[in-house]
Symmetry: C2
Subunit: 100 residues, 2 copies
């Protein structure tokens, strides 16, 4: 089972659009929450909407911190596998647009 | 020529991603700026990142005000034709994801 940091609660995922082209989900990370381990089944775009730092946990257990700056968007391709955790004291949020 | 509000300067459009699947553009509307008249050539998703009210000017000159709430995203289909203007005193911003 890929690494995951214990004692974290699930972040809040709110699906805002789900049509034949995209699924748009807002992820709200209260302190001490994470997505849980997941593999991206689609190419996707991330648009940060609340500033803060999240920790990405890779398959091999290594971690890296990523600063999310509102409106500083990025795109990634399908197949990415990780857990995304909020180990900070701030609520962090982004909107993910999955390209079906 | 469709109606448009005079004396507005162009908003700031920053292309953040442009690949075979999407074009991701951040639109920053300083007070007194607009997109200018445009027709959407692609289905698109809008993710507001800075709160405020923008005015949509339709082809027939009618206008409607839309409140943009950070992370409250929406999707629209190609063919939409309008001008988007910031007639308020606040800077308003959103990220637009065009689906190629």
């Amino acid at each position: 089972m890929p690494h995951r940091i214990e004692d974290l609660k699930p972040c809040i995922a709110t699906v805002q659009v789900d049509n034949e082209r995209v699924r748009v989900t807002r992820y709200t990370f209260l302190p001490g929450t994470d997505t849980g381990w997941h593999t991206h089944g689609h190419d996707y775009v991330v648009v940060p909407t609340r500033a803060g730092t999240l920790t990405i946990i890779e398959r091999d257990g290594s971690t890296r911190e990523v600063a999310y700056v509102p409106s500083e968007s990025y795109a990634r391709t399908l197949g990415a596998e990780h857990d995304v955790a909020n180990l900070s004291d701030d609520t962090v949020e982004f909107v993910e647009i999955e390209l079906k």
